[in-house]
């Protein structure tokens, strides 16, 4: 389903979203045809997929009705009514994302309208109060505490739950991973120079991404954020596995058990920018310079491989520490 909003001559648009990323609850990576069935959450609507360089599939969009306060950075009161769009994506049959977003547009009226008015504008939340785009974007990003004004994360979470209730998953857990949250806000303006900023928040599971782009780039900006969330999750999960492996070694247990599935199942999925439109690639390039995503990744993967190799040598030498002292 396409999401279209009417013309907005009022100036820059704000789009906000939250992406939750986790592992597909299955021992092995899911084959493409399974992914296709699992993501068929809206009858009559197709699942989109592409195969290269890693398979990637997106479920049809769902709508959720909203009538709530909106956060603003200045704490000025804002209120909106409309719908959020949400879908799920699966990458490499292994990583599942729930992604919800809404476009915040000034409303023509200051009262709630008939429901069909909002259904004709899927993914648009009309703001019945006066609000500045930057103020709304930054307000949304800052509002990731326990009781957010607009809770797109909960909508993403429910998409994940719904997808995973598919009967044919075995619900096995090959490796431990945390669910991460990426909140993003894009200000879309034809006058603006494209840029992205990622912040690791104090809550370890939360990252916020602020994007500036031109209005035509909205779908690409969303894909960029999903791709960013996915790679950030990979980094988080691999770091977690490494620290678990360190703990295991310290306690005299075999770290390879923890690391092997990570190396086998996650390392091949590192393909930053592969599913991102070329227009958005400069944003990736920027993040590669700082904080240097791929560089971090390579270091982590090398550490995992070293640990595994070291353990293999230990085992070959009859379990004695190596090099022998």
């Amino acid at each position: 389903m396409n999401a279209v909003a009417p013309s907005a001559e009022q100036g820059p648009l704000v789009v906000v979203g939250e992406i939750r990323t986790c592992l597909v609850q299955n021992f092995a990576a899911l084959p493409d045809n399974f992914v296709g069935q699992m993501l068929k959450v809206v009858p009559g609507q197709p699942v989109y997929s592409s195969k290269r360089p890693v398979s990637h599939a997106t479920s049809p969009d769902r709508l959720t009705g909203l009538d709530c306060a909106l956060a603003s950075y200045s704490r000025r009161k804002a209120h909106g009514c409309g719908t959020a769009l949400s879908h799920a994506t699966v990458t490499g049959g292994r990583i599942l994302q729930g992604s919800a977003r809404a476009c915040l547009l000034p409303a023509g009226a200051d009262q709630r309208r008939a429901w069909r008015h909002y259904l004709a504008r899927p993914g648009v939340v009309e703001i019945t109060t006066r609000a500045d785009p930057d103020d709304l974007a930054e307000g949304f990003l800052a509002d990731h505490g326990r009781d957010p004004a607009l809770d797109l994360g909960a909508i993403s979470e429910r998409v994940i739950d719904e997808v995973q209730s598919w009967r044919r998953l075995d619900h096995g857990t090959p490796l431990r991973a945390r669910r991460t949250r990426v909140l993003w806000a894009a200000v879309l303006d034809s006058e603006i120079k494209p840029s992205a900023r990622i912040t690791l928040e104090r809550d370890e599971k939360v990252r916020t991404v602020r994007i500036n782009a031109s209005p035509g780039d909205l779908p690409r900006a969303m894909r960029f954020c999903e791709d960013l969330a996915l790679h950030d999750w990979l980094l988080t999960t691999v770091s977690l596995a490494l620290s678990q492996a360190d703990r295991a070694s310290a306690l005299g247990r075999d770290p390879v058990e923890l690391l092997q599935p990570v190396v086998d199942q996650l390392v091949p999925l590192w393909t930053p920018g592969a599913h991102v439109d070329p227009v958005m690639l400069p944003l990736w390039t920027g993040l590669e310079r700082h904080p240097g995503f791929t560089h971090q990744w390579q270091l982590l993967v090398a550490r995992m491989r070293d640990k595994i190799a070291y353990r293999m040598i230990q085992l070959r030498d009859g379990g004695r520490p190596w090099p022998a002292t």
Binding site: A3, S7, D67, C68, R116, V124, S190
Partner: protein, 341 residues
């Protein structure tokens, strides 16, 4: 400027369906009523005939002599598995009766549609149930519940209970504040002006289906819900993964109809030269006791998220033909509720 969330390359091809200017529903009766005698049908068609003529004339005066108008009749044959309905006679008899009765009242019937085909649709005779398109499911998947004030996404919308309301239901006495002197509180229509007209419509009942040996939950759809599917079919609003559904099956000169109702295609074209079945607007001539059903239909339609690509496609085609179409599909529906005279 448009806000589009999906890349162009991802957009599925939405195939077009042929559209008339107007689709006229000339009646809607139970299959049994037709099998018993042609009396009710004759009466319905007698009352409908002048309106059909008026409607066709109006369309032609606005859009020229070549304006496309088609007529259709809906046979209610939907049978939830455990309901006690009379076994059906051969469809050919009813088809002939419908065509002949229309002719005797001075108009041509173009399409005969079976209501159960609005739940599971088929384009041809004899399609296996498993190969039919779950149209009712597709429409059920479009329902978006209206938010209550304060809904911010944190809580899931109230579950799939099979009912759809246009407001906040009255709290059950035990849920309201304890010890209140009068525990009853009224329901409230969302966005009401001063007073509420609260509507709560049953869409389906969940029943256990034991046909496969184990209990599976099956939905038995309400008449109102299937009628909503029917109106969307008439407005050309439904697709299955971009493909047209329930396309008319041409009976041809040598009618070789299946002997059983469930083997009929959903839409049977009984007039070789008929204008397209679906149309920009739909007009229904119904007995007056269909008023509550049609009110429920409009209520359901106002809670559907229609495929935006289809909506746009039809709007663009209408604009091409210089037809003004209201944004909302419910405003494309017109009725005359026929009285006894």
């Amino acid at each position: 400027m448009d806000v589009v969330f999906r890349e162009k390359s991802d957009t599925p091809q939405i195939e077009e369906v042929a559209l008339s200017h107007l689709s006229i529903e000339v009646g809607h009766l139970y299959r049994e009523d037709l099998e018993d005698s042609d009396e009710r049908l004759r009466e319905q068609f007698r009352r409908a005939a002048p309106w059909i003529e008026t409607a066709a004339r109006t369309v032609k005066s606005r859009h020229g002599g070549k304006a496309r108008v088609s007529t259709c009749f809906l046979v209610d044959d939907y049978t939830p598995a455990d309901s006690q309905r009379k076994p059906a006679g051969p469809p050919s008899q009813i088809v002939e009766m419908l065509v002949e009765t229309a002719r005797s009242q001075g108009f041509t019937l173009d399409y005969i549609v079976r209501e159960s085909g609005c739940a599971l649709s088929a384009d041809k005779p004899g399609v296996e149930p498993s190969a039919q398109v779950d149209l009712a499911d597709i429409v059920a998947g479009m329902i978006v519940a209206e938010p209550d004030a304060g809904d911010n996404g944190s809580r899931p919308p109230t579950a799939d209970s099979g009912w759809l309301a246009n407001g906040k239901r009255a709290p059950k006495p035990d849920e309201s504040a304890a010890m209140a002197p009068n525990p009853w509180q009224p329901p409230e229509e969302y966005g009401r002006r001063n007073h509420s007209i609260f509507v709560d419509v049953e869409l389906w009942a969940k029943v256990e289906d034991w046909t496969s040996g184990a209990a599976l939950l099956r939905r038995d759809f309400s008449c109102a819900f299937l009628a909503a599917v029917w109106q969307l079919m008439r407005l050309g609003m439904l697709r299955n993964e971009g493909k047209p559904v329930a396309q008319p099956y041409r009976l041809g000169t040598d009618p070789n109809l299946p002997a059983e109702w469930p083997d009929l295609p959903t839409v049977l074209q009984v007039n070789e030269r008929a204008a397209p079945f679906s149309a920009y607007r739909a007009f229904s001539l119904l007995p007056h006791w269909y008023l509550p059903t049609e009110h429920a239909v409009r209520h359901i339609l106002e809670h559907l998220s229609l495929d935006a690509a289809i909506v746009r496609q039809i709007a663009a085609r209408a604009a091409n033909e210089r037809i003004t179409l209201p944004e909302s599909v419910t405003e494309r529906l017109g009725y005359v509720f026929l009285d006894e005279c």
